[in-house]
Amino acid sequence: MSLLNPFDASLSFEEKALQIFEFQKKNNLVYKRFCKALGVGAIKSTDDIPLLPIQAFKDATVISSPNSKFKIQNLEFFQSSGTSGMQRSRHYLIDTAVYRDSIILGMNHFYDLDEYVILAYTPGYNANPHSSLVWMLNALIENDQSGLSRFLPLGDVIDSDLLDEITSTGKKVMLFGAAFGLLDLIEMGSPSLPKQSIILETGGMKTHRREMTKEELHEQLAVGFGLPTSSIHSEYGMTELLSQAYSQGSLWFECVPWMRVSIRNPQNPFEILPSGKEGLIGVIDLANLFSCSLILTGDKGIQREDGKFQVLGRWNPRNLRGCNFLIDD
């Protein structure tokens, strides 16, 4: 498809976002109806773009394409995991190359991928044949010319020989995985990682158990793998997004250049909240060119003036309705 390139560095984010907004308003039936019902016409600033609630990926088929020749049943798709009977998000991929580019270019924006060997540990995700995380890790593993990158076997400690082999090539380890799966590795007795390794946790809680804060999690990962907490990084991504944000040794996430976050007032999602105020995380992800780039997530967040943001968990809608004693009332 020749039209817009979300990664085109010759255009500003604003320019590309406005073009994609127009493209999706015209070619995405769901988003088109959404804008029409809101009475949205021409828009001059990305701040005025309405963000589609992320639930749409569960309730409808969210596709942007001027070409209606393809058959939806032939399209690859990502699907969120969940128990049977649970409604799950489905993200159709018209062009998988966009996702691959987003992953590789995005990672290279924050890390020099040539320096790393990716070790992926994703219990709970492997059972989902439509996991976007597993797809992402496969793309990263395939991208590594050394052949050392791989999925680690489930239920087993990290092989010390493998770590030695990686070190001998002069490469660094990037251990990538769902947060609590990584804790399992520690509990099973995995060895400390080589000094310059990085742990990239995806925040997933797929393997059960206790609640803990992000700080506690990072502390435990650091101690368990013998690394400083500055080496514990996080990734913010989801089935509905083809781009990710990364935090590198702190709780503040930074987006890739073709993704932007804003914090929205849950009572009026048109309103962008000022820095420091909690609200719903809104995302413009230009890599979602063929689905919907303009998304209101269900996550609670807070943003700094420099655009970095923290994820504070799921937005709890139960706070809005009914009897509720508030100190100031």
Binding site: F34, L52, Q267, N316, N324, F325
Partner: protein, 345 residues
Amino acid sequence: MTITNHITLIEETTKKWFRPDNTKLKKAIERTVAEGLFTFEDIKFAILALKEKVDTGQVSEWAKRAELSDVYNQMDKKVLCLHAGNLPLVGFQDALGTILSGANYYGKLSKKDPYLLAAFLDSLQESGLFNSIRYSTELDSFEGVQADKVLFAGSESSVETVKKELIRLQAVNEETEFTIRTAKFSIAYITSEEPEVVTDLVEAIFRYGSQGCRSVAVVVSPTRFSKLKCHFQDYIEAFWLKNPPTKKPTDAIEYQFAYNKAIGRDQAWLDHFLIQDSEDFPELDATLHWVEGDEEKVKELLNKYGGAVQTVYTAGEKIEGVKTEFLSMAQRPPLWWEPDGIPVI
């Protein structure tokens, strides 16, 4: 004073307070309306609903049901009630129940409903009850109280903040028992389109701007919403003619409306209210979720919504394994109704 005399005195004082010639109550109503806190229609409804219960002897009946006696009571206990302010006199039941039990009452009144309950508490104070009655709209006023029990309706996000503030003020201590209500809305299971059922349903949904936890936010019915839409709208309009809505809906409702359009969900937008064909958690005020289904669907939704559901109403039908109440009682509950299924006394 024996507990029997105590109960009798409260019952008489309460009956007197609801009399139409009570100028203090009249003043409290006028002030509440003048300041735009609640509509006259909603206040009148709340007062008449309570008056009916009090006049039929429910104060002493409540004491009897709670088995209050000179041996079993809460004398010398200190109960701090943190009242919400989403409906007129929403704190009446907690205040009355606490005082009836013999406990010393400490009431943090809501700034959204500061006059009506205060007028009632004044009349109880003046009646010469043995227990202490203190109230304020400022939480700081309860500094050092060291309450034995705290009652309040909260949400996951507010509970910790409130507890921290109470600890800072030493209004509570380590021994203090907390009763926290988290129910947010009620469900109605409707199988009939008879005028009295629909009238009761409309009352249960729209009274008090749908703000209470006894208000119906989810209807389960074998009839699809699209089939009943026009018929239902007539009843709603008739209700609004008598009880004009005053609150403008938030922009979030407009957003929801657009979202429903986007995904092709059936809905009706009634200027002040959105009715939608949805099983999602009803998070927004001024919305009703209509779900096509049977008794099993009611059970499924109860399981899905968890502790957020206060009551399941029917027009008389029994649902096996589910405790139900009459729809007609949704906004006129007995004095002893149980918020979150927990008795006040």
